[in-house]
Symmetry: D2
Subunit: 380 residues, 4 copies
């Protein structure tokens, strides 16, 4: 582990479990992401032993009284609210976890941070670079810990790639090719995800933002983009898919793509990196595997489940694979540890600056698609 | 789901969560399997919502006072014992979960059943057919629910194969080829697993028993075996690997193999079934996938993560894979539901009769290896 | 087979072998491509039985007297020349096959066509759109048959994709993603391939042209490109790799990429096409396979070796794979049949117009890389 | 190359092509195998340059006058016969190539050898161990070169495995698991292959013999077998599939299986070898690839197309795959070289002793299936 401060404690050297402090958690949202985050709080308490802090599930907020009450009972939150303002005002809450839809990211997160609560917000951070910048600046100004939930940084194979890159194992980087392909978009339904005012963008913010974050996490800042978007179904105000040719500050070039119109691809976030000393390839549909090539030997399928692999000390003997939701366990552990120790969220976790920067890359892609020009990624 | 009695409730039709009863759980063992089972109790409480019964973690037993106390704190057991007899005698315990080593399967499990507790026992049930028969008969005689933890029946892809077979989708079955390959056996260490008096057998009971159970679960009873075992490292009293050519009562023929001497194979439980209408292939290292061939089209890689796939309603949208330990969540849910409703453990779960029958197949393999003859599988 | 005119004759309906005519072949070049073409002439004579015309290997030309003489003996050419002008002037030659380097494509090919010889020229047709246009116009003006050796159109799996697309099996097309990745470029050598005056471009013309031709063959004309090139090794005047986001006239969008800097990728020409009714994926390193997804079932690995698969009637029973060089057998058969019957080279084979059009797409990519703007593909 | 005598000449060091001698070839059979062998003679002449001997296709024999005449014209044999005795008596023939059905292996091959002709015979050599022994003894007694066409020894990946094993790269061998699976057997047709008097056995001699030869070639002699056969379709006098648990003289154990009843498996000859230092896995449906594991890194997919890989110097740059029929080019090159130099056919090629030994293993499998006992493999 290259950063001791935010690295993992071994069980031998850990502080005794009895001395672990508690942290009150308040969550906004109880759907897909609310379920994933709730599971993470409940699991990390005994899987990452001893945990940096013991999460106390104080309250959960949502608009539907019956549904949010059921969610509270199911996941073990002590109380529930139908107005997120009550949650943000609750003194028991030290960590505000925003698992709500994109158009509820800014206002509640900013309010929570201003109330002195640490904040965890789902991606994309805001619907635009400007909104994301506001959220970041508010949290930074409040002096709280902030994390943007780019959970794929916490896939063991992805972290392993990061460590390989830091150690120079791939040499100079020439190419990054990242795609996020799903198949469900060709439907008649009228979802908030197809409406620009609610979602900001379509495949771009929903899927592409993950690829952009991994590109930044692994290869570094993107300097410019040459991009296209397409909306295949009439009536939608967001993109159904996009294509971008990109340059990185380090000199690498590559492509970033996402679509909801790829039959047979369920959740295919994949990337390949080529460097002067080797290559790696990853596919989220096989998240326990990493393809590694060192020079001329083709690609080895490396099952990233060894005891010394990132995060694996917490789980099972090698060959026993982990699931998608474990990424949230790793992610929230990382945040709690930063809170408990005063340590950093970056670079292994994404903070709101990372959320903001991803949003600026998204904005540049939209600008390029519109202008027909290569657009520099710029920050305010 | 072909058996409504033991099938899954939908959230819509479920009884209200407030009405869920509780069940006291006592566990023997806190190592690998103890961790896996503990996680299952804690997870099923909110993932399979509402659960059939809410597990109350009453007590855990183990010989090392410090270690078992730490395990109790970690996994949330209210108390801990260093003598399993206290656990078995504890009135709060309604379900006795035996996650201990093979030589501690028989006596505690029999004692618990005789005390009227439902019993869940890790595999292999006993070290021999005879010991397994005793365990089964004791539990059956006590009238309690009993389950042998052949958790791979609860892999979604494996259950899907069972459903396909029940529906006749593969037609008449010609071949079953099953292997369980691991790589760690070529070591100097002196483990209880290498000692016949503690373990019963080596790769056979540890790995082969899983293959045998899946063969029986999917294709039916094995009628005879022609087998070889080998011990590659001197000083061991168990097999390091075995090979068996087998006949099934249905007319199919096949092979069953296991070894701890296969470099590069971490946890490679794989099987292939060929029938008159198609074939399937499965590999535990990719447990979210099933290879399916229907007629002449080659094999499709089917990600078994659709909402309608077995067990998947509890988890995530398609393409979001689950982990190895989820099989225990499915398995223990199944047991708790059988307890709550008075329903059956078989055929989808393995009960002690299944544990016993697998042990008889193991014994026949040892007999055949010794005699050099094809040995019929016989039951007492 | 959708085009009877250029389709394959069955052995039953074929004209009698005794009546097959002959055609004199003159070849320029005896290196990699010369070997591949020579093998094709010698093999098609008995494998595609009866052949449309029986090739007579008249003469081969190259600058090195000893080497070209050895090549003539090896491959069975009756004579050899050190000046291609002798070859072009030879009355015995009815088909001029240009397997020479890029800077020897234009002049000899034009001279041969003007002498009334049918012409087969390796790709890229010319080093630029302008040069390619000249070659095309000369051949078209001479009224001879002309073919540009985009041999990957003659991979059985690629042809099968074309047939699926013509039959509407994939529905409306949304995405094409094509890449050609090789690993050998990071070397110190000073090759003609690294010199713009000899090669025209680098990875673009050498590898990217193949991807562009397949994109056009399968999805249709490319309307515009937004592209980047990079030269990683100093001193080279050509690109080492490029990235392009592209739009198709049919409304699809996608990416086209190639590089010589991808360790572990030997000859990885791969593409994926997503349509409203399904997807296909192909990788040249497994050229006998096609990945096919129809709706929600994941991807099937289809071994394209069935008797009814394109070109397979000529070879072996299913499951017996063919090699890379067989694509030239199929390609040259196709050309000879067009010559014998007066049939068309297009659409299944690439003629010089296709060679020219690919060159214009390459030019647009270079323009876009230079201008930083999306560039329309235009034709003179 | 570990055996210089039978290794490959480099082009630099080769004798001059003008000095290459000729050898007259007479072939029995013109169906599948006749086509494959004919292609090999015609191809090796220029691909393995210079060839050890230049094949002159003297005559081909078959019972159907029209068909054999057409075959002669197609493949370029100077004459044809409807009685193999004429072929065997023909003074122009120095190499007799028996590509006929199993029941025409013994008599013509023995006659040819007694006439002093070198002999190449398709597998299985004879229909039984006894018949195979006769063929071997006759050829050995006549002092001619003899080869049994176990062509899979000449797959580059298989030869590479042999070289790795000779070099000790896999250490001590623990396991060999070999299978040959096809799908076509579940049909109504009444073929000679389903008749014991014509074919000897079914899947065993047709497919299993290949696996047995590779097991012997790679791991060494098989000492005993414990086996089962099955005939799934009534009315057949041969096996449709078989299963065998086997022991090797070196101490390894494993399985050997074959079937014609595996839907989705076209030509799936696959094996895996586990040793103390690593493992390899191979599948004929991907014959250009070898899976290699060294210790703990999982399996690498090695494209066996490097210039230094076995046989690859004759073909194409790396990444350009070869086809199934190339194995015959390699095999017949090997035989011609042994003839030209007086060198050995074994160990890299299979001679009639290998054909005989494989037949004895087949016989032991049939005996074991009948007796229900482990049967030692014995030689007369």
């Amino acid at each position: 582990m290259s950063d001791p401060q935010v690295g993992f404690v071994t069980q031998a050297s850990s502080s005794r479990a009895e001395e672990v402090g508690e942290i009150g958690v308040g969550m906004l949202g109880y759907a897909f992401m609310g379920k994933a985050h709730s599971n993470a709080y409940r699991t990390l308490e005994y899987m990452t032993w001893p945990p940096p802090l013991r999460p106390v599930l104080v309250a959960i907020a949502g608009r539907n009284e019956a549904a949010v009450g059921e969610a509270a009972r199911r996941y073990g939150f002590a109380s529930h609210f139908t107005d997120w303002r009550e949650l943000v005002a609750d003194d028991r809450v030290a960590l505000f976890d925003n698992a709500g839809p994109n158009n509820l990211h800014a206002e509640p997160t900013i309010a929570a941070a201003r109330n002195g609560k640490h904040v965890l917000c789902e991606k994309p951070l805001g619907r635009t670079g400007a909104e994301s910048h506001d959220i970041w600046q508010s949290a930074a100004g409040a002096g709280v810990k902030h994390m943007c939930a780019f959970n794929y940084r916490f896939v063991p194979a992805v972290r392993l790639v990061r460590e390989m890159l830091e150690a120079g194992e791939l040499g100079d980087i020439y190419h990054f090719r990242g795609r996020y392909l799903q198949e469900w978009g060709n439907i008649d339904a009228d979802l908030w995800r197809f409406d620009a005012s609610a979602a900001g963008s379509g495949a771009l913010g929903d899927l592409g933002a993950h690829v952009i974050d991994l590109a930044r996490f692994l290869v570094g800042e993107i300097s410019d983009v040459s991009a296209l978007t397409a909306t295949f179904r009439p009536g939608r105000t967001v993109d159904d898919g996009f294509e971008a040719a990109v340059s990185f500050e380090c000199g690498a070039i590559g492509t970033i793509e996402a679509t909801r119109f790829a039959p047979g691809r369920k959740n295919a976030l994949s990337f390949e990196i080529n460097g002067s000393r080797g290559s790696v390839a990853f596919d989220l549909e096989r998240l326990n595997e990493l393809q590694v090539s060192r020079g001329t030997d083709g690609f080895a399928t490396r099952l990233v489940t060894e005891a010394h692999d990132p995060f694996l000390e917490w789980w099972w003997p090698h060959g026993h694979i982990i699931g998608w939701e474990h990424t949230f366990v790793h992610e929230i552990y990382h945040l709690l540890r930063a809170i408990a120790t005063g340590g950093a969220v970056r670079p292994y976790g994404a903070d709101f600056e990372d959320g903001y920067r991803a949003a600026e890359v998204c904005d540049a892609i939209l600008r390029s698609s519109e202008s027909g020009r290569r657009e520099a990624v710029t920050y305010r």
